[in-house]
Amino acid sequence: MIFRHLKELYDYRNLIWQLAWSEFKLRYKNSILGYFWSLLEPLLMLLVLYTVFSNLMKIKVEYYQLFLFIGIILWGFLSRATTSGMFSIVGKPGMVKKIYFPRDIFIISSCITALLMSIFESLVFVMFMIYFRVPISINLAFAPLILLFLFIISLGLSLALSALHVFYRDVQFIWQVLLQVGFYLTPILYTIDIFPKDLQRFVLLNPIARVIISARDTIIYSSPAKMEDLLFMLLSSIAFLLVGYIIFSKLEPRFAEEI
């Protein structure tokens, strides 16, 4: 059953890519600075947060700019993928009502669009790395795996959100609030050490917290990812994808009638 669906998705790989790529191109089609907006947005955010947190709050962390930047990029990906994924069914009534292909293609391709944008942003991050002469090590090899986990978690969330959004239009507002809260509950601006040991365990229940921490460890600080973190991320990404997919496929048959 699952394998048949995967095979079907593989047959549609061209369509997934076409949709993702055209969406990516469309995003900046009518703006003068074009793709540079994509770079400017996280840079401005970095500038504000860096100024506030390094000067006012006296946070002392090695490579704090990069520490902050990696968090902003990864959280930015999650937020962008889930938000655009959420609108990917509701926003295309023509396609949903007039033609059939597996509808999760819409969500997969919108997550890929978000990924493309985030990869583009990380070019600046690479330049930062070079500028600050951050040493890199073999541990960098963990990074793609960690990013894959993040992608799968975002995909699972998007599947559930997009399906629920068809039936309940206030899902979008609830999700925006949750994203806001999540931004501060996840160690993006601060290190997890500011919490007492007992509380740290709760913070680490959030898989995104582990994604960001281990991404920092492997990319900036040249240390290997913890086995425990990798396992937790693996299990939670499977769980997110599974739950998301079940919700999606339960609601999917009625999409064309409800939109």
């Binding site: 369509l15 076409q18 191109k25 396609m95 009502k97 007039k98 033609i99 059939y100």
Partner: protein
């Protein structure tokens, strides 16, 4: 081999009286009973389409044709029953699905062709052909939003026909557009037929259905009325039979009569001393059913009901037929046809039998009158009655003129023969 199999198909829609679209409404509405109506869009539909066959689906608006097509296309799910398609389905429900107005023509072709299931290499090979066929070579890199809607349809159509369908689902949306475009669509359809593509074709254009479909399914209010030979099904649709369909004709007739009475007051188109009154006029088809729609070239009977309030000798009944624009097409009366009536009293009716309706298509108006031998009217209903003629041929115009072609070639004249072959008229 069977290409599509539909078994015991039912489809119901829930139509809520107040729609709950937010979580808040759903939570507060938990204790209220759900308030919706069940609408049966399709009831007990059964049919199979064999490979290479063309099935037409006809019916009034709202009879479930498009719903059925969407279920076959897997866009909607059946409420119960089963639809099995054993081949790849290409739906042409709407042209240009997924067109993005901010992308260029070439980019849109790539996306649309991918949606229609074409492979990447195929698309790259055919891209120039598609643009050329649409006649848009100059606008290859123009954004779609700067295209006229006609150009967009052309672009979508020339892309869509490049697909290599096994089962083609075609909705009547293709029938929009000008004559030339419609002809193009029909040409493509017949090409697909020749190539052995299985086709399901939904249309109001009975002429097209008659031409293309091996068999036809007639739906009425979601129910399968009849499935069978196209000619028979179209007859059944046009003339109706059994109880349901003629009722709607009667209603139509009644409303027309009410309408005409209103009309008559302000136009004063009824005149005469009413010594004989025309009480009603009805049209009957070849099955002797009352109706207001007729196939061209079919027989028809016009029945005129009268009521003579006193004994009248030598009345003359007459009719005049008009096109919708008011041109007088034909007129005759009992005197001209040597059907003299000595005298009349009381109620009765007379009939005018038409062996073959020569009109091809359109709405026609009928004037009915009864007058004395020297043209003094008793009763005169000017253009009070109307009926529609539905085309059964590909010829155009208002009337068919009985005719045939004869090709004359002198066997020795080589050049002449060549000319005719080139024009595709006939060999030899």
């Amino acid at each position: 081999m069977t290409a599509i199999q539909v078994e015991h198909l039912h489809k119901t829609f829930r139509i809520p009286h107040e729609k709950r679209t937010t979580i808040f409404e759903t939570l507060t509405g938990v204790f209220k009973p759900p308030n919706y109506e069940i609408f049966h869009a399709l009831k007990e539909i059964n049919f199979t389409v064999e490979e290479g066959e063309a099935l037409g689906i006809i019916g009034e608006n709202g009879s479930g044709k498009s719903t059925l097509l969407k279920i076959i296309a897997n866009i909607l799910q059946p409420s119960s029953g089963k639809v099995t398609a054993l081949k790849k389905i290409t739906p042409f429900l709407e042209l240009g699905v997924g067109f993005q107005s901010d992308l260029t023509a070439a980019e849109n072709i790539k996306i649309y062709a991918t949606i229609m299931g074409m492979q990447k290499r195929e698309i790259n090979n055919k891209l120039d052909d598609i643009i050329e066929f649409a006649g848009l070579e100059k606008f290859r890199d123009t954004k779609l939003k700067n295209f006229s809607s006609g150009m967009q349809v052309r672009l979508a159509f020339s892309t869509a026909i490049q697909t290599d369908p096994e089962i083609l689902l075609m909705d009547e949306v293709l029938a929009v557009g000008d004559m030339e475009f419609q002809q193009k669509c029909l040409d493509v359809l017949s090409q697909f037929r020749k190539d052995g593509v299985t086709i399901v074709f939904v249309s109001h254009d009975l002429g097209a259905v008659r031409r293309f479909c091996d068999k036809t399914l007639l739906l009425n209010k979601g129910e399968q009325v009849i499935l069978g030979n196209t000619v028979e099904v179209i007859d059944r649709y046009v003339y109706g039979s059994g109880n349901e369909v003629p009722n709607s004709f009667e209603k139509q007739n009644e409303s027309e009569i009410v309408e005409t009475e209103v009309k008559s007051e302000d136009k004063n188109s009824m005149c005469g001393d009413k010594n004989i009154e025309i009480t009603n006029v009805e049209f009957y088809d070849k099955f002797d059913n009352k109706g207001a729609r007729f196939n061209s070239f079919d027989p028809m009977t016009i029945r005129i009901f009268y009521n003579a309030h006193e004994k009248i000798s030598n009345p003359v009944f007459g009719i005049a037929l008009y096109s919708e624009n008011g041109e007088n097409l034909f007129g005759t009366n009992t005197e001209l046809k040597n059907a003299s009536i000595d005298s009349l009293e009381g109620k009765g009716h007379i009939e005018l039998m038409i062996e073959r309706i020569p009109m091809i298509t359109g709405r026609f108006l009928l004037t009915v009158a009864v007058h004395t031998h020297d043209q003094k009217p008793y009763d005169w209903h000017d253009k009070q009655y109307s009926f529609d003629v539905i085309p059964t041929c590909r010829e155009v115009g208002l009337f068919e003129i009985p005719c045939s072609w004869k090709i004359c070639v002198q066997p020795s004249d080589f050049m002449n023969r060549f000319e005719i072959n080139k024009n595709g008229l006939n060999e030899k």
